[in-house]
């Protein structure tokens, strides 16, 4: 029997006390993914600390002209917030492209960052999985891997990160604010999630005794030229085969700034700064976008069933950049 204790934290300090020194402790907020994983016997925490009552549920302006999204603001409230919609339309679209209305009402921004992969083998305790049981092997390599990674995978893990929201956050170069026994710190979005390497069981660089308190959006929201494109097997409520957050600033037909991040293709939201830089100074046209797409996918590799994703990702990048270039209003 996997017994565990359950407590409710009333303050951040309270929550940290609960977390410190208990390696098997998990914080639970919206709970939509963690409870699912505990049910499947994939995650086996011995302590749960419920943090839903912490005062991390506001969206506030930052001194730098951006927005601070509290870790406990729900995905729904974030997507529908008028400031987010007008200043960061790509983020709002990405959130609304994910999950369902019920889940967006429950899921929190912090929880969205920390959701685990949807790899079939991660969930199936009857198969090997290095993310679930380090050293047991990878069932997806050589198995059914249509939904798996084409970028940044390792011989130990080819799982993908399932979030839509995080793809937009990567493109926006958000920062994650965390707190722990060593105090507060800020993690650039790109450094928050990890590639699998030889330790695929570790998804993020959040320390076990830290909690996420907020996501900071920089002032630059790319409201004029941005989009989120999600290619999936059905029209709604399905994980992405490939998704693209694309954002441009354009002056006189030339790209002056670019952001490009992909979902459904890697162990983390996949932002490619080299591809972005390749766009700067070029005309905002199909030829430039093709160069960027090739750059993103230069090291892409399929594992059989997911080979199609390489070409699909190229096509999706082109479409997203074209849509972003064409869009004028959120």
């Amino acid at each position: 029997m996997r017994a565990f204790s359950y407590s409710r934290a009333e303050s951040v300090a309270d929550a940290l006390k609960g977390v410190v020194g208990h390696g098997e402790t998990k914080v639970v907020a919206g709970g939509t993914n963690l409870l699912d994983l505990m049910k499947a016997d994939v995650m086996r925490p011995t302590r749960l600390v419920d943090i839903t009552r912490l005062p991390l549920n506001r969206i506030e302006e930052t001194a730098e002209g951006g927005l601070r999204l509290g870790a406990l603001v729900t995905n729904a409230d974030t997507a529908h917030d008028e400031r987010v919609r007008s200043r960061y339309p790509m983020l709002s679209r990405a959130i609304l492209a994910g999950a369902s209305a019920q889940l967006r009402n429950m899921a929190t921004n912090g929880g969205n960052l920390l959701q685990r992969t949807r790899c079939y083998y991660f969930y199936d305790t009857g198969t090997p999985c290095n993310k679930r049981e380090p050293g047991s092997g990878c069932g997806a390599i050589g198995g059914v891997n249509r939904i798996h990674a084409i970028l940044g995978a390792s011989e130990h893990c080819i799982a993908t990160h399932p979030s839509d929201m995080c793809v937009a956050l990567a493109a926006l170069a958000a920062e994650i604010r965390v707190t722990g026994p060593r105090g507060e710190r800020t993690i650039p979005f790109e450094a928050f999630h990890r590639l699998p390497g030889d330790a695929p069981q570790i998804d993020t660089n959040l320390a076990p005794d830290e909690i996420v308190t907020a996501i900071d959006l920089p002032a630059r929201g790319f409201a004029a030229h941005s989009t989120y494109l999600k290619v999936r097997d059905r029209q709604s409520y399905a994980f992405a085969l490939v998704s693209v957050a694309a954002a441009l600033e354009i002056e006189d037909g030339k790209v002056t700034a670019a952001r490009l991040a992909l979902g459904g293709v890697a162990h983390k939201p996949w932002r490619d700064q080299a591809a972005e830089e390749a766009l700067v100074g070029r005309p905002a046209d199909a030829g430039s976008f093709a160069v960027a797409a090739e750059a993103v996918l230069r090291d892409a590799r399929g594992f059989g069933h997911n080979d199609f994703k390489i070409d699909l990702a190229r096509r999706a990048i082109l479409r997203a950049l074209q849509d972003a270039a064409a869009s004028e209003t959120p």
């Binding site: 029997m1 996997r2 017994a3 565990f4 204790s5 359950y6 409710r8 639970v28 919206g30 709970g31 939509t32 409870l35 699912d36 505990m38 049910k39 499947a40 016997d41 749960l48 419920d50 839903t52 729904a76 999950a99 369902s100 209305a101 019920q102 889940l103 009402n105 429950m106 949807r118 079939y120 969930y123 199936d124 305790t125 009857g126 198969t127 198995g143 059914v144 249509r146 939904i147 290619v231 097997d233 059905r234 029209q235 709604s236 409520y237 399905a238 994980f239 085969l241 199909a286 093709a290 199609f308 994703k309 070409d311 699909l312 190229r314 096509r315 999706a316 082109l318 479409r319």
Partner: protein, 934 residues
């Protein structure tokens, strides 16, 4: 397939919250799912559980007004909050009749659902209502798109969503009054479901509802391997380690451990005996208290596995594979054959010939209600309360498995939260019976979603090679079909598929020369069984691709080519049967002609402008024999008259959402000449109702409807005789009397003066009907069905050539239903069938072990199902009740062909491997060198 967290782990603690406006306090572990607490601890079973993973939305409730999944909400998180469930929706307003004479109240939204026929099986309805209530509170006049977004997290497998959207949009309309047809005007009326109110208030009881509080829990331990030998370890030690275990059942505990649909196909064990043949097969049953059963994980069970290489479909087709069942050395379960004329000669002489290869996948029924039920022993009888499509077959099968007489078995079917063929096979019943019989205590079992998907039957994957030819006059000459069907590990309904497909292989056309051969092959895949259409939907993809291709080769319009070749009354079918009436395909096709021409022209004009998104318009036609193939399948219905003047219809036909509880009353009422609202229904008990067969093969309206008509006419004849009035007398019920008026004046029969029978009826009549068919000879010649449904559907789609995505934008469906007994329900069947056909065409593919949940196995959502126009063609069937025949399966069959043909129209590329997912569409475009290559 392991234990869950619900009942274990954290210690109980008090949680207080408002529940439907009233303060409650419960003492449970704060991590318990809210859905479980509502259902098990607070007795509110209106909140349904379909997946326990946030994928289906059936458990949607409102917390502080906002819709959430109760299955993913820990009880501890609702402290101090307001939880609203379906039971809390209607707290004021006028009372109307509810379940069993209860007074029920409805909100305008619920009333609108009732009026629009938005609930079929009803198991998703509470979730839909809660999501819609949240929307309407914030936005009283939503657009269709806003409705689809807000409700998009609740899956429905029955309705195709259109009537739900209509109901939400129409919720602002006044009133909760519903149509009550006059005597004699019930058939053809758009009357609301007779059992509809309970589905809207949460009162309806499905398999997992109303379990006895003292029941033991049962859980099966299932094989993680597709093929393996296994040895059980020390079960006595397991019992000692887990004192809460009341029993650990093995194969040795099952009296007759082989069951199956056909007398010759009793090959499936309730518990595997040393060898498993598919992943998900049950090997042990654990019975005990809830905490123990929920805490035990597979890792706790001593089983030694010896995995073996599984037999794949490819290996079975090739021959020489390991043998699954010793009596079938080539793994061929059954061969089907229909041969007429000299097909090979026709191809040599034809003006045009086409060939197609079709490949389809396993498709999961994905009813939102997982299998569930409970059983108890009463003296020397066993009683099983469970969701099922076939209580009488269950009764006979359980008698067989238990070694009891059929009189010792009582089956009490609950409301069924969707079936589509998947609840025609035994699921929870045999092990519940064995456990309850041995232990003398009630035992309950609800499948988890992964268990339901792993253990239950599937649609047969097919590999089809077909060719057809036509003359220069455009008339079909020959059709040559060979189809292999993956029937999985056990026989189930495999023989039905293998025998039904050859009869239907040509499609609904007149073809002089036919050869149609099928094989059902055993593999180490899940048993493939009955699924809406029994193989005909797979075969239809082939014949409709061929019709399009032949039309193109002959320079004919695809619709006109089909119209020319449509089977008409007086022409022989492939089995030599000549339909004399109710052969309405040509009329269905003609009904599509105008929208077809307009849509084809519009699409072609749009495509001339170029761009990445291309439009296409396709057509699909079908036919479908109603009832069993060349087998007797009788139904009986009893109608009785009470001393107080109420009429009781003893209705053994199980309503799985399709609406037979309403149809049977409509038919019987008009046959009797008395109004529907004088009727009460007795359903759901093999002890109380006559055998109305199974709810499958689209047979209930036609077969049981005929029985209901005959019962009604029988009771009417008896009344007329006693009243001594003529055939055309008008009957009226009033104050316990039947009044009859004819040319001779008015006469009265006082019912209280008559002696009631054991049921309490003073008069009653039984009607029976068995469709007239003949056996098929060795060439498949004969009369396999008494009547057929026909249809033509047209699909409009948009294909993104760059991304490979396909969006269906509109479907027009013309169906010959003989007579629409209830047009709302016929439309509901058509729309729901279309949604399933769309899933088959574009997204559904079950991969054992990998897609055993509703986020990896995708079924259509609100956003996937387009506008659907239904055209009802009523070419009366003389044998049918008031001219009616079936619609359940016909609705699904033409949709996938129409969509795939539209894909061809849009792109010039033919995809015959379903589902046509974006990767397959892109691959096909690339292979053909078609499309915009950015």
């Amino acid at each position: 397939m392991t234990g869950t967290i619900d009942r274990v782990g954290a210690a109980a603690a008090e949680t207080s919250f408002l529940l439907n406006g009233r303060p409650v306090t419960i003492r449970v572990p704060p991590i318990r799912r809210l859905s479980e607490a509502l259902r098990e601890d607070l007795g509110l079973t209106g909140t349904k559980v379909g997946c326990n993973a946030g994928d289906c939305g059936a458990c949607t409730v409102r917390i502080d007004g906002r819709q959430v999944c109760a299955c993913l909400t820990p009880v501890g998180q609702v402290a101090g909050r307001h939880v609203q469930t379906v039971e809390g929706l209607a707290v004021e307003g006028p009372a109307i009749g509810g379940r069993g004479g209860h007074e029920a109240r409805l909100t305008r939204l619920q009333a609108s659902f009732h009026r629009h026929g938005a609930a079929q099986c009803g198991v998703c309805t509470p979730g839909m209502l809660m999501a819609a209530t949240d929307l309407l509170e914030r936005n009283p006049a939503p657009t269709r798109g806003e409705v689809e977004d807000a409700l998009g997290g609740v899956l429905c497998r029955c309705t195709g969503y259109r009537k739900i959207v209509d109901a939400v949009m129409g919720a602002a309309e006044d009133g909760i009054a519903f149509l009550v047809p006059q005597a004699g005007a019930a058939v053809g009326a758009r009357v609301a479901k007779t059992d509809g109110i309970a589905k809207l208030t949460g009162e309806e009881r499905y398999g997992a509802d109303a379990m006895p509080a003292d029941a033991l829990w049962l859980r099966a331990v299932r094989s993680p391997h597709a093929r393996a030998r296994f040895r059980l370890g020390d079960l006595a030690a397991l019992r000692r380690a887990w004192p809460g275990l009341a029993a650990v059942l093995t194969a040795a505990d099952v009296p007759v451990n082989r069951y199956g649909i056909y007398p010759t196909g009793k090959d499936q064990p309730a518990l595997a005996d040393g060898e498993v043949r598919y992943r998900g097969e049950a090997v042990l049953a654990l019975v005990g208290d809830a905490d123990t059963i929920e805490s035990l994980t597979d890792a706790d069970i001593p089983i030694e596995w010896e995995p073996l290489a599984p037999v794949t479909f490819e290996a079975a087709r090739a021959g020489g594979a390991p043998v699954l069942h010793a009596d079938l050395p080539d793994n061929v379960l059954v061969r089907g054959r229909v041969v007429k004329g000299a097909v090979d000669d026709t191809f040599a002489a034809a003006a045009a010939a086409s060939v197609v290869e079709v490949e389809t996948a396993f498709v999961e029924h994905a009813y939102i209600e997982p299998e569930a039920g409970w059983a108890r022993r009463v003296g020397d009888r066993i009683e099983i309360v469970a969701c099922t499509q076939t209580p009488y077959m269950d009764r006979d099968e359980i008698a067989h498995v238990m070694g009891l007489s059929r009189e010792q078995v009582r089956i009490v079917p609950t409301a069924v939260g969707g079936g589509f063929g998947g609840k025609l096979d035994l699921s929870v019943q045999p092990l519940l019976a064995v456990a309850a019989w041995r232990l003398g205590r009630p035992v309950r079992w609800t499948y988890s979603r992964p268990e339901s998907m792993a253990a239950s039957t599937k649609r047969h994957p097919a590999r089809i090679m077909a060719r057809a030819c036509a003359g220069s006059d455009g008339r079909l000459l020959g059709y040559d079909f060979a189809g292999d069907f993956n029937t999985g590990a056990y026989a189930s309904w495999g023989p039905t598929v293998a025998n039904r497909v050859p009869v239907h292989a040509t499609g609904p056309y007149h073809v002089p020369h036919v050869r149609a051969l099928t094989r059902a092959l055993h593999t180490n895949d899940p048993p493939a069984g009955a699924f809406r259409g029994f193989g005909v939907p797979q075969a239809a993809i082939a014949h409709e691709a061929l019709m399009d291709d032949l039309a193109a080769k002959l320079g004919m319009d695809p619709l006109e080519f089909r119209h020319l070749n449509a089977l008409r009354a007086g022409e022989p079918t492939a089995t030599g049967q000549v339909l004399e009436a109710s052969c309405g395909l040509a009329a269905c096709i003609a009904a599509l002609r105008e929208p077809w021409r307009a849509a084809r022209a519009a699409a072609e004009a749009a495509n001339r402008a170029g761009g990445a998104v291309r439009r296409g318009v396709g057509i699909g036609c079908m036919w479908y024999g109603i009832g069993n193939t060349s087998l007797s399948n009788p139904s009986s219905m009893r109608v009785g008259l009470r001393p107080d003047g109420r009429i009781v219809l003893y209705n053994g036909a199980v309503d799985i959402g399709q609406g037979s509880n309403t149809i049977m009353v409509q038919i019987c009422a008009d046959a009797l000449g008395l109004p529907m609202d004088a009727f009460d229904l007795v359903t759901g008990d093999t002890d109380l109702t006559e055998d109305a067969g199974k709810t499958s093969a689209s047979r209930q309206t036609f077969v049981s409807g005929n029985a209901a008509e005959r019962a009604g006419r029988g009771l009417r004849a008896e009344l007329l005789r006693r009243l001594n009035v003529g055939e055309d007398a008008a009957l009226r019920l009033e104050a316990g009397c039947v009044h009859a008026r004819d040319a001779g004046g008015e006469r009265t029969l006082r019912l209280a003066d008559l002696e009631p029978d054991a049921r309490g009826d003073v008069l009653s009549a039984v009607g029976t009907f068995d469709p007239p068919t003949t056996a098929l000879d060795e060439d498949g010649q004969g009369v396999p069905y008494a009547t057929y449904g026909f249809a033509a559907q047209m699909a409009e789609i948009a294909v993104d050539l760059e991304l490979g995505t396909v969006k269906v934008t509109r479907i027009v469906a013309a169906h010959d239903v003989g007579r629409a007994v209830n047009p709302i329900q016929v439309e509901g069947q058509i729309q729901g069938g279309i949604a399933q056909g769309l899933g088959l065409a574009l997204m559904e593919e079950y991969v054992p072990g990998r897609t055993e949940n509703l986020h990896d196995y995708l079924i259509p959502t609100f956003g996937d199902v387009p506008e659907i126009e239904c055209i009802l063609v009523e070419d009366r069937e003389p044998l049918g009740p008031f001219g009616a025949k079936g619609i359940g399966e016909p609705a699904l069959v033409p949709t996938a062909p129409a969509i795939l043909n539209a894909l061809h129209h849009a792109t010039g590329v033919r995809i015959t491997r379903a589902p046509a997912t974006p990767d397959r569409v892109l691959a096909a475009l690339r292979a053909a060198g078609v499309g915009v290559t950015p």
